[in-house]
C-alpha cells in the first residue's frame, strides 16, 4: 500500500485535516472518505465533468486531482455551492427551467455553472455553451441547462454582457 499524506484544507468553508493515500483522487476522498456523494464518478478520465469541483476558485475535474493536492487549498463541492445565495438561485433556475432529467450530470453542471457565472457575470448564450462544453449530459440535449444558467446569470443593469469573442 502506498504511503499516506497528511493534508489540511478548507472544504465548503470548514477546515478539514485528513490522512489520505498518495494515489487517492480528490473524487474518491470526497465520496468515500468524506461522504460527499454529490460529486459523481462519470468516467474517471476528466472527459465528462460529472465530478467537477472548485479548487481555489478554479473548476477542476476531481477525478484527475490527487487528494493530496488539496492540501492548503479551498475546496468547494456541490454541497457547498448550494449553500450560497448564488448557488440557490442557480438551483432554482435548474429546477424551473427543466434542466434536470436523470440528474446524474447535474451536480457537476451546477458547480461549473456557478463558476461560469462568477467569472463572467452576464455571460451570453455562446459563452454559456462554451463554458459547459466539458460537461456531458445524455438526457436533456443541453438546451434547458443553457436556459437555466442564462436565467440565473441575468446581467446587472448597465453591465456589458460577456461574449466569447471578447478578451
Amino acid at each position: 500500500m502506498s504511503a499516506n499524506c497528511d493534508i489540511a484544507f478548507t472544504l465548503n468553508g470548514v477546515k478539514r485535516e485528513l490522512s489520505v493515500p498518495a494515489g487517492m483522487s480528490a473524487l474518491a476522498m470526497l465520496r468515500e472518505r468524506l461522504g460527499l456523494t454529490g460529486t459523481k464518478y462519470g468516467c474517471g478520465e476528466g472527459e465528462c465533468g460529472a465530478c467537477t469541483i472548485l479548487v481555489d476558485g478554479m473548476s477542476v475535474n476531481s477525478c484527475l486531482l490527487f487528494a493530496a493536492d488539496c492540501d492548503g487549498r479551498d475546496v468547494v463541492t456541490i454541497e457547498g455551492v448550494v449553500q450560497s445565495e448564488a448557488g440557490e438561485r442557480l438551483r432554482s433556475a435548474f429546477v424551473a427551467s427543466g434542466a434536470v432529467q436523470c440528474g446524474f450530470c447535474t451536480p457537476g453542471l451546477m458547480v461549473q455553472a456557478s463558476h461560469l457565472i462568477e467569472q463572467h457575470p452576464g455571460a451570453d448564450e455562446a459563452a454559456i455553451r462554451r463554458g459547459i462544453e466539458g460537461n456531458l449530459c445524455r438526457c436533456t440535449g443541453y438546451r434547458k441547462i443553457v436556459d437555466a444558467i442564462a436565467s440565473a446569470a441575468k446581467p446587472d443593469p448597465g453591465q456589458t454582457p460577456f461574449s466569447e469573442g471578447q478578451p
Binding site: K40, V82, V100, C102, G103, P107, L136, R138, G141, I145
Partner: protein, 777 residues
C-alpha cells in the same frame, strides 16, 4: 394541536402547464443517492474478470493466488455455480462462461473483497489459459460454409429471423413507373448513460434476495432472477434507487447482476458491483448495427407501390433485445406511409462482436433512415417535391394498414405541413440546390423525415398493464404508488400531475412511490414510450375512484347529486364554484368515522390492441405517435464537417400534459439523434472496441446543439390519458434520416452509411469511398 392552514391556490387545469420535475431540487443539490452512492454496512465490493480474447477456448483458470490475497472473501468461476442457467432475451449465455468465450466482454471469474482496490488487485492474480479460436468478426464470416458454430444449437449461426409480407410484391413492381434500390449501413452506437451500471445484492438468513438495481423492468426481472436461482419469485425484492439514465439499456438482465447475486450468496454478505466507464463501454449493450437493402417503387403520380426490404443484423455473441428490433422496423416499412405491397426479410447473425440491446427508438432509427431516403429519391424521380410526395402517401386518421395497425388518431399530415411551413422548407430546399455549383465550398442543406412509433403501449408481451395504489391521508395528502419506473424521463411528475388534475390538488399534495417491488403494483417496465399512456391511465383510474368516493360522501351530507359537486383548489365545490368543504377537513372527518376507506387500487390494461399473429399482423398499440423533423445543416466540402444548425420538429403527441417535460424529452431526443447522425461511432474491429472512452467516443456537447423549433400537434387521442400519447422515443428517430436528406440537398450526393463523420463525408463527396454493398449473409 395547531393545524397548518391550507392556502392552496390551484389554477383551473394543470394540463399543458410547465411543471418542474418533482425530484429536480434534490438532484440539483447533489442529494440524490444513486446506486453508486449507496453504502450498505458490511458490503463487499465485487469485480469481474473479463476475457482478453474475442473467441477462445478456456483451458484453465487458476484463482489460487487471488483467493490467497488478504481482504478477498470469494473468487468464483463457472465451476463454483454449476447450477447457473443461461440468461438474457435469448437465454443463450451463462453469467460466468464455462469453457469458451465468444466476445471480449465475456465474464470468466469474479471477486468479492473488502474494497474495490483489493478486488482489482485480486483480478490481476487470476491466470487464464486460452486456446484461440477463429474470430467471426462479420456476419459474412459467420455465415460462411464451415464457419465455427458459436452456439451448439445454432448450426448456421442464425440467432433470429423475421419474415413479413403484405400484398403481392410482383404486382407492386409491375405497377411501378419508377423503382429505386440502395443499400444502407447503420453503425454501432451505445447508450452512454451518465450513471454507469451497478447492482447491490443481499440475502437475508431465510434466503430472500434484496436487489438494489437500475433495471427498467423490475417485475419481469424478478421472474428471471427467480428462474436463475431456482427460488420463488415472491422471495425477491427489487428496489430501484434513482437511475442515472436508461434509454433502453436496462431492459435485459446482464451477467453482472447474477454474478453479484452469486457472490452475495457465497459470501453471505451484501455485494456491491459497479462498472468503470471503460467497462460500461465494453460490457453494456449497443444499438444494433444493420445492413439494409431497400427497393421501393411508385407510379408517375407519386403513389407508392411497393417496398422490398432485406436486412442483416450483426447480433453479436449473444441475443438480447437488439435481435427483436425488426418487430419495430417492419412497422415503419409497412405503415409509416401507405404502401400496398411489402416484403421484409431479416436475419440476425451471431458473431464474436458486442451484442445489441434495446435502445431508444428500437430499430426505428435504422428503418426510418432507409425509408425516408427513398421518399426523397422517388419524389425526385417523378418530379415532385418531397413534401407533396409525402403528403400524397401519408396515413390519415381512421386508417387500418395492411399490417393491421389502426390509426385512431393520426396527425402525420399536420406534422408534415407544420414542419415544412415553420422551416420554410420548399424555398430553402430550392435555394440550396441552386448553389451546388457555387464556388463557395461551404454548402447549406435542408432535409425532412417523418416517423411512426408506438404511442399507446406495445404488445411486446401478451399484456401491457400497470397498476396503481392511491391513498389519501387525513391531511388530504396523496401517496401515489405506481408500478411505473422513473429513469429520468419525468414519469413521477406527469403521473402526479394527472392525479392532481382529478383531485383538484396542487403538486405539493402528492408523494410518488415507484421503486420497490414489495410495495408497487405490477407493471411491464419502462420501454416502448408507454409509461405516460399506460401508467397515466392507471393513475387516473385510481384518482377517479377516490374522487367518486369523496363526492359520494359529500353528496350524502349536502343532499346534492354527485355530478353537482367537484374538487378544486383543495375544496369540495358546488357547480357554482362555491366552496362547500375544505377537502382536508372533510377527509379527516371521514377518517375518524368508519367510512374513509381511502385506499384505491386500479389497473389499466390497454384494451384495443392485440398480440401480433405469427405473420406479424395485428394492432400492437392503443395509439401511435407521429412526427416530422426538418434538419438544416452547413456542410464544408473541403473538410467534410457537417454542422446541424436547426431542427424544426412537429410532433403528434396527442396532447401536451407537462410542457416542460415534453420539451425536455424532445430536445434530448433530438440531440441523441444528432449524435447518432454525426458524432457517435463505437469502433468495433475484429471484435475489439477501439474507443471505450468519452475522448474517442464523441457525445454531442453544448456548443454543438442546434436551434430547436418544436410544434405540438394535439390530436387528442381517445384512449390516451387526457388525450396524450407516448413521446419518449419519437424525437431521436428522424434526425439521421433528415440529415442524410439535407446532405443530398446541399451537395447532390446521397450517403447511405452512418455516421456522417467528417472523414466519411469527405470521402463520399470526393469519390474516395464506395457505397455499402449488399451481402446476402
Amino acid at each position: 394541536m395547531n393545524e397548518p392552514a391550507k392556502t392552496w391556490s390551484v389554477p383551473d387545469s394543470l394540463i399543458g402547464k410547465r411543471i418542474p420535475k418533482m425530484d429536480a431540487p434534490d438532484k440539483a443539490s447533489g442529494r440524490t443517492r444513486y446506486i453508486q452512492d449507496l453504502e450498505i454496512p458490511g458490503a463487499l465490493h465485487g469485480k469481474i474478470l473479463r476475457s482478453t480474447r474475442v473467441h477462445a477456448r478456456i483451458l484453465s483458470i487458476d484463482t489460487s493466488a487471488a483467493k490467497a490475497l488478504a481482504g478477498v472473501h470469494a473468487v468464483i468461476t463457472a465451476a463454483d455455480v454449476p447450477w447457473q442457467r443461461p440468461i438474457g432475451v435469448g437465454r443463450d449465455h451463462l453469467p460466468l462462461k464455462a469453457d469458451r468465450v465468444l466476445s471480449l466482454r465475456d465474464e470468466i471469474a469474479a471477486v468479492a473483497a473488502d474494497s474495490e482496490a483489493i478486488a482489482e488487485a485480486a483480478l490481476k492474480l487470476i491466470r487464464v489459459v486460452y486456446e484461440p479460436l477463429p474470430v467471426l468478426a462479420t456476419t459474412i464470416a459467420a455465415s460462411a460454409p464451415g464457419a465455427p458454430r458459436l452456439h451448439p444449437d445454432r448450426p448456421d449461426n442464425v440467432a433470429m429471423t423475421f419474415d413479413y409480407a403484405q400484398g403481392d410484391l410482383a404486382q407492386g413492381e409491375a405497377e411501378s413507373d419508377v423503382v429505386v434500390e440502395d443499400v444502407f449501413r447503420l453503425h454501432y452506437v451505445t447508450h452512454c448513460c451518465m450513471g454507469v451500471s451497478g447492482v447491490i445484492a443481499e440475502f437475508d438468513p431465510s434466503g430472500n434476495l434484496l436487489l438494489y438495481s437500475n433495471t427498467q423492468v423490475p417485475f419481469l426481472h424478478k421472474r428471471e432472477f427467480a428462474e436463475l436461482l431456482g427460488i420463488d419469485p415472491g422471495r425477491i425484492r427489487i428496489i430501484q434507487p434513482p437511475i442515472g439514465g436508461g434509454f433502453g439499456s436496462k431492459l435485459d438482465i446482464y451477467p453482472f447482476e447474477p454474478i453479484a447475486i452469486f457472490l452475495a450468496g457465497i459470501t453471505k454478505r451484501p455485494v456491491k458491483l459497479v462498472f468503470t466507464r471503460e467497462e460500461e463501454f465494453i460490457a453494456s449493450p449497443t444499438r444494433q448495427p444493420v445492413l439494409l437493402k431497400l427497393r421501393s417503387g411508385c407510379r408517375k403520380d407519386g403513389t407508392l407501390t411497393f417496398r422490398d426490404v432485406e436486412t442483416v443484423h450483426d447480433n453479436g455473441a449473444y441475443t438480447s433485445w437488439g435481435a427483436t428490433t425488426p418487430f419495430v422496423m417492419m412497422q415503419t416499412i409497412s405503415s409509416l406511409y401507405r404502401v400496398p405491397h411489402c416484403k421484409y426479410r431479416t436475419v440476425a447473425v451471431y458473431t464474436n462482436n458486442p451484442y445489441a440491446g434495446s435502445f431508444r427508438g428500437y430499430g426505428n432509427l435504422q428503418a426510418t433512415f432507409a425509408v425516408e431516403a427513398h421518399m426523397d429519391k422517388l419524389a425526385e424521380a417523378v418530379g415532385m417535391d418531397g413534401l407533396a410526395f409525402r403528403l400524397k402517401n401519408a396515413q390519415h386518421p381512421g386508417e387500418v394498414t395492411p399490417q393491421g395497425m389502426h390509426f385512431k388518431s393520426c396527425g402525420l399530415k399536420e406534422c408534415l405541413t407544420t414542419a415544412a411551413q415553420r422551416s420554410d422548407f420548399l424555398r430553402k430546399q430550392a435555394e440550396n440546390r441552386s448553389r451546388w455549383n457555387d464556388p463557395d465550398p461551404v454548402k447549406r442543406g435542408i432535409g425532412m423525415a417523418s416517423m411512426l412509433h408506438v404511442g399507446g403501449g406495445a404488445k411486446i408481451y401478451p399484456s401491457d398493464g400497470c397498476g396503481t395504489i392511491l391513498k389519501i391521508d387525513d391531511f388530504a395528502h396523496v401517496t401515489l404508488i405506481t408500478g411505473a419506473s422513473e429513469i429520468g424521463q419525468g414519469s413521477e411528475t406527469v403521473l402526479a400531475q394527472l392525479v392532481c388534475e382529478e383531485l383538484g390538488l396542487p403538486m405539493t399534495a402528492v408523494t410518488v412511490v415507484n421503486n420497490d417491488t414489495d410495495i408497487t403494483p405490477w407493471d411491464v417496465g419502462v420501454h416502448a414510450s408507454r409509461t405516460t399512456f399506460i401508467a397515466g391511465n392507471s393513475a387516473i383510474g385510481a384518482a377517479r375512484k377516490a374522487k367518486r368516493k369523496i363526492l359520494e360522501a359529500a353528496a350524502a351530507k349536502t343532499g346534492n347529486r354527485i355530478d353537482e359537486l367537484g374538487l378544486a383548489g383543495g375544496f369540495i365545490t358546488a357547480s357554482s364554484g362555491e366552496k362547500l368543504f375544505e377537502l382536508a377537513k372533510f377527509l379527516r372527518s371521514l377518517h375518524f368515522s368508519d367510512k374513509a376507506d381511502l385506499v384505491m387500487t386500479s389497473f389499466y390494461y390497454e384494451p384495443p390492441s392485440r398480440h401480433q399473429d405469427k405473420q406479424f399482423k395485428g394492432d400492437v398499440s392503443a395509439a401511435y405517435a407521429w412526427a416530422t423533423q426538418v434538419c438544416e445543416i452547413e456542410l464544408d466540402t473541403e473538410t467534410g464537417i457537417v454542422r446541424l444548425l436547426k431542427v424544426t420538429g412537429a410532433h403528434d403527441v396527442g396532447r401536451v400534459l407537462n410542457r416542460l417535460g415534453i420539451e425536455g424529452q424532445i430536445e434530448g431526443g433530438i440531440v441523441m439523434g444528432q449524435g447518432y447522425a454525426l458524432t457517435e461511432d463505437l469502433r468495433v474491429e475484429a471484435g475489439v472496441i477501439r474507443n471505450p472512452n468519452f475522448r474517442d467516443y464523441k457525445l454531442v456537447t453544448a456548443p454543438e446543439i442546434p436551434e430547436m423549433d418544436i410544434s405540438f400537434i394535439e390530436t387528442m387521442d381517445g384512449e390516451g390519458p387526457q388525450g396524450a400519447k407516448g413521446v419518449g422515443e419519437a424525437p431521436a428517430i428522424c434526425i439521421a434520416a433528415a440529415v442524410a436528406n439535407a446532405i443530398h440537398n446541399a451537395t447532390g450526393t446521397r450517403i447511405t452509411a452512418l455516421p456522417f463523420a467528417p472523414e466519411n463525408v469527405y470521402r463520399a463527396l470526393h469519390g474516395a469511398s464506395e457505397p455499402p454493398v449488399w451481402n446476402a449473409a
